[in-house]
Structures are given as C-alpha cells and as structure tokens.
C-alpha cells in the first residue's frame, strides 16, 4: 500500500502542488485511511440501498454487447475494482501513464470529496436471456423473483427509458462525483456494454432528520422500512435463504421514470391535492391528523360518515395495511430534464412545452412479486394521483449481495 494506488484524489493534487505540474507522484506516500465522507464498499450488502440517501444520483442501464461469458466476468471484475477505488475517493485506475495514453482517470472529480459515493450494480433479465438466446449460459440461473414486470394500467413506457441487461446506480452528495463514477465505469467497459438509458436525480438539501419533499410538494418516504430495524430490512428488503446464494443480502430494484404533470398539479386546490395524497401538505400528517409519523387511521370518518382518507387516495392504496402487509424501501429521486413538447389529454387540450420533470422512483425489495408488483397493480388502476403522473420508463434488476474483498460483484452467479 505504499504506491500510487493508495492515493486519494486530494492527495494526488497535493502531490502535484508540491512537486510541480507533471504527473510525478512520490512513491513513498504512506498508506492512508479512508477519507471522510466515504461509505464502505466491501460488506454484507452493496452500498446505496440501506445507505442514508445521498443528494444526487446518476442511474444508467446498459445493454451487454459482450459475446462471451468470460468477457462479462472480466467486466464485472474490472467494475468491482474500479468501484472499490472510486467510492474511497481514489482514481478509477492507478496512475502511471504517459502523455500518449488516455488519462487513467478523466479527472472530473479531482480535488472533490468522495461525497459518500456508492455504486450499486444490478442484473437485468437480459443478462440471463436475450431474445430467447442463452448468451452466457446463465438462463437456468435466473432468479424466480427476477420476473419481467407486467404491463400496468396506464403504462406509457418508451424504449429510451426502459430495460437494461445491467444497471449501475451511483449516488453521491455531489452530482459531478456521481456522473464521474459512471463515466469511468463506461470507459473501462468500452466494447462490452452500451449505455441504454441514463437519468440524473436529486433530492433537496433537507435536514437528515426530515423526510424530503418531492416535486408535488409533499413528503415522500414517510412509511419506509427503517434501515435501523434489521428485522424490517430482512423481511422486506434483503433477499434471504429462499433465493440463490449470490442474491443473499442482495435486493431487487424496480425503477420507474414517472413524469408528473406539474403544471396541472400546481393549479389544483390545496384541498384536492391533500385528498389525492391522503395527507396534509405542509405537516405531512394523515388527513385529520397532526403529525407526520402518527399512524394512518383508515377508518376515520368526517361528520357525514365519509372516509377522511379517500378510498382512491395515494396513502390508502399504498399503505401496508391495504396490501396484506407488503412494504418496499423507496429511495426515490426527483428528476428534472427541462421541458418538452406535450399534447395534453384533457381540457383545455393545450399543446406546448411542459416540464419533463418528476420522480425517478427507485424501490428495493426482497421480492418484486410481493413488493412493487403487489402494491402497484392496484394503485395503477385506482390511485387518484394517476391524473397527474405517467410512467414513461421502467426497469427491474437483481442487485446481488455485498462483495467480499478479492471477489467481484455477483461472482457466485458465475461459479
């Protein structure tokens, strides 16, 4: 550990400042502990699932162009090594290059904090079977839980935001650090993968004690399983003994790119907005209640006997009590891609530029069949919020368990 490989990006720059503008780095830098603002890479679970949510994400889904299983193994080995380095604030690849080579690391994160970077890898259905073909001899090893998502009521999925053989979710408190990480992984994978789709996302600079508000202005994530409660996580999020060994400690990711008709939402009355969600906007309390985290009483009625929390409200339909106890770990980001042309589907049938913004919904669960699919099937038909949201992108990925140092992510699948 006394060579260039252990240098953090900040140390590299300090060395440059001391030694001049060239790439001459002293060879005797002492081994360094992980800098602050790092999340562990090796462990029982991949980072980026139970990790307290970072402020930014860059999510990318890839098509595999590798022809052979060995190439996929090499790719995952290289990605694991690079991810282990990047998450610890190091360069994607060790320096030691000449000016006649592309940079070992593009440099976009030089001098920056690691920003609690995590990199979460996922395997899509196409890794196991592609157009009916068993490219890599993995078809028989596809987990039962890695189903193809059904078509949900109202789905308006577009190819440009859907699917993928592999997924990489980089999360960091700095958008440049998150993008840099994925870009370096893409460089390393040149020839083996093609980016299929990608999406940036953000959450606000809220206090860590508070539930962030999404672009509808409501708190989002109030009833999540708690990473501080291992039993909840084991039940709802982590794959246990009933899945393949390489998925133990892993989780299934469902991604949905959900465009929100913000212009319409913004013109609804406060009362209608709150009825739609089933919560008060400013406090986050269930309708009729006072505090965000008080239990949702689905039986409460007004003086005329009407349900306080409407039958078609988002909260009633999504809550565990309405879904045989099903829960998922939402770890969603807002997205904001400016505006694009939209022809509206309701009066006054306006056509024009509208926000291409909404929610990059990401949910982790131990089994999508009893998680997202179970919960969303009903919501997609009944949720009053569907007037304002359109699911335009989608993906499902098996995110293997954590990686032991010396191995690569998902290694057990290839054993």
């Amino acid at each position: 550990m006394n060579d260039k490989k252990s240098l953090t990006r900040r140390q590299l720059l300090a060395g440059l400042a001391a030694g001049g503008a060239s790439l001459a780095i002293g060879k005797s830098s002492p081994a360094s502990p992980a800098p602050p603002d790092t999340e562990p890479f090796w462990g029982a679970h991949q980072g980026g699932i139970a990790t307290p949510q970072q402020k930014h994400t860059y999510f990318a889904a890839f098509d595999l162009s590798a022809e052979k299983r060995d190439e996929v193994v090499t790719l995952l080995r290289d990605w694991t090594a690079a991810a282990a380095r990047l998450t610890q604030g190091q360069l994607a690849r060790p320096l030691g290059q000449s000016f006649d080579e592309p940079p070992a690391d593009g440099g976009g994160a030089l001098g920056l904090s690691p920003g609690r970077l995590t990199i979460t890898f996922g395997f899509g259905p196409g890794l196991f079977e592609h157009n009916g073909e068993d490219r890599y001899g993995l078809k028989s090893r596809r987990p039962e839980a890695l189903v193809d998502l059904p078509r949900f009521s109202g789905d308006q999925l577009v190819e440009a935001h859907t699917g993928g053989d592999l997924s990489v979710q980089a999360c960091a408190d700095d958008p440049q650090v998150a993008f840099h990480a994925v870009r370096e992984l893409v460089r390393i994978a040149y020839g083996a993968v093609e980016v299929r789709w990608a999406q940036t996302g953000f959450v606000s600079n809220h206090s860590p004690r508070e539930t962030p508000r999404n672009l509808m202005g409501f708190k989002d994530g109030t009833s999540n399983p708690s990473p501080s409660k291992p039993r909840e996580m084991d039940k709802f999020v982590w794959v246990g003994g009933d899945g393949p060994a390489w998925m133990r400690g892993g989780s299934y990711l469902v991604v949905r790119r959900i465009r929100i008709a913000l212009e319409h939402w913004d013109r609804m009355t406060l009362g209608f907005q709150e009825q739609t969600i089933g919560r008060h906007k400013y406090s986050g309390a269930p309708i009729g209640g006072k505090a965000e985290f008080e239990p949702v009483n689905l039986d409460a009625t007004d003086k005329d006997g009407n349900a306080l929390i409407a039958e078609n409200s988002h909260v009633r339909l999504s809550i565990a009590a309405s879904n045989d106890g099903a829960r998922i770990l939402r770890r969603a980001y807002s997205y904001n891609d400016g505006v694009s042309f939209t022809a509206e589907r309701w009066p006054p049938w306006r056509q024009g530029m509208e926000y291409d913004a909404g929610l990059l919904f990401m949910a982790y669960q131990s089994d999508p069949r009893t998680g997202f699919i179970k919960i969303f099937d009903k919501m997609s038909k009944l949720d009053q919020m569907n007037q304002f949201v359109t699911h335009v992108g989608s993906g499902i990925f098996a995110c293997p368990g954590g990686v032991v140092m010396g191995e690569f992510v998902g290694q057990g699948l290839f054993g």
Copy 2:
C-alpha cells in the same frame, strides 16, 4: 411587517408544528431579519451575476403571450415581488388561502434553506420586436448592444434550446430551491408567458477557493474578471453610461447549450487533451507552467521552436491578449440530460446512445459585440476543441440593472 408576509418558510413550518396541522398562523410573529444563506435582492445590480456561483441553476427562457404592454408590466411587477420574497426564503405569495384555492406556494421548498437563491431576469430581442411587430411599443427602445447573435461556424442550434423573449435564471445551492423558484414564477405568469426552453445545470462541491472543473476534467473560469475588482467589473461586465438608463448596472447574458462528445474526449491521450486546452489537466497551469494562476506566456516555445501553447488551443484563442483585451464573465454550469441517440460524424461512424451532457455556457458582459461575439467568432472557426463540442442552443438577453425597493425589474424601460 407583523403579518404572515414576513414569515420565512422555516418559521411557517415551526408555526405549523406548534399550532397544529392547519394553516392557522399566529398574527403577531415579530419582524424577522433575513435568514442565513440569503443573497440580497434589492441593490445596484441584479443577483446571480457577481454573486459567488451557487451549485445549481435552473434556467428558463419564455415566449411572451401577453398581448398588451400593461400585461407585461403587471407580469414584471408580480415577478419582482415574488423574486424578492423567494430569495429571502419566504413563500412565493403570502398565505391566507382556503382549501378551495390552489396553494399560494406549491410547497416544494418548505423547510429548506434559501440556499443563496438568486433570480436574474433578462429581456430577449422578442420583447422589443416580434415577427416584425412592435407588440408593446418598445421597438425603438431596444438597446443597440442587444443584437441578434450571428450564425457562428459550426452552429447546430435547435429550436428547442434557443431564443426567448424573457429569461429567468435561478441559482441556488439546492436544485429543488432553484426549480421551485422558477415554477412559482411560471404559476404567477399563467396566461402571459409560455416556457420556451429550460435547462438545469450544476457545478461540483469544490472548495470556494478553487476553480471548478467542467465535464472535460479541466478547470473552467481561471481567467475571469474578478467580482472583487470593481474596475474590471465596470469595464467588462456592467453596462455604464453609454447604454439606456434602465440597463445601467445591468449586463448582457449570452447562453449557449454546448453538448460535449464526452465519449470521444475520454479516449483522447492526456497530451492531446492538454494541447487542445493549452493547460495542464491536473494543475490547471498553462502548458509548460507550474501553477494555475501564473500568466499565460503565448511566446513560450519548445526546443524545436514550436509554440508550447498551440495556435489552435482553447486558451490562446480565448485569452484577452488574443482578442484586443476583450473579456467576459463566464458563469457556466455543467448540464447532464442522460443520453440520446447520436449518429457520429467521424470514424468509426458509430451510431448509438451518447451522453447528452456538456456545458450550459453563460457569460455576462457589458456589450456582446465586444464580448462574446468578438471572442467566439474566431474560436468557432479555429478552436481545436470544436472537434468535441457542438453548440446546440443559444440565447441573448439584456439583464437590467438592479431593482430599487418599490420598483420592478426593468421599470425604466416602460417609463
């Protein structure tokens, strides 16, 4: 100042927590000083120009659909009032509503820090003349400096990212705060404007003492005029006595959405990247130099007599010494809109998904004719960097001087 209008967003939530979940706000809140992390709204200059750069921007260009001059005046008056409130961490409009109205403020920034929000308004050519028509009686008052940008060599402008009668640039350290501000302004302007195009942007979490790196991995902004040197700012950035009175203390904004072929850039050798820029990648020093801020010596040669800083390098072409002393205040953000389909124009003529990411170039100057146009005309023809960058969007806006409390932005234009 003892009413709801002076409540900050944090105070509103504190009031809600104390008083229950309704909108009942105590009427006797004391007047409050501006919360931390605020930038002034009223003053000699609009915020967001000399303001130390915030980490995020949401830039929006608008088409005016207002038919009458009075409607434009009302719009600017309402926008000014809302911007003054939003930048100080208050709601876009005072509360005092019923549940039967749309919320006075969408709530997306509730509980968040103001994040040093600034809102910078600009007037595009279309405010003065639209399809040859003098809609608002302002044609004769169009500043000479507000030229239509010429077509530059290599321009690939698309309608969806170009033009605009009005511009609003919201900058904040929180992307949700910046977007919230523009969205509230759009709500207020319903019927008077249509969003024409919009773009998010970010810079990294670099130390305030450091020049941020753009997505090419190089430091960007090293030779900017310094806001701490009033003489430089007066000469290069602020409009002085030779413009119309309402532009005094204002500045002209040129926006360019510059897509960067990052995949190609990433495969270039380090030496070629540095030659293209004319600076060392890691240190930021001019080629052959040691420190970022040392003077650029355009006459330096290698042992064979070749210029160390190549004739077609970005630094040589852009530097004041090569442009009769011209300088502009660059206040650029990176942008990242995922990937989109691209057919490459060079070998190996690959077609596929490529990053739709690059630079939201924004530059302020006292006169675009002696600023951006002067500098970029030559660069657009000669800069080696043009192999990697494509200008796909563009706009030019006259940003009026700062606003005196009680007036509205650009008021002198309508007097």
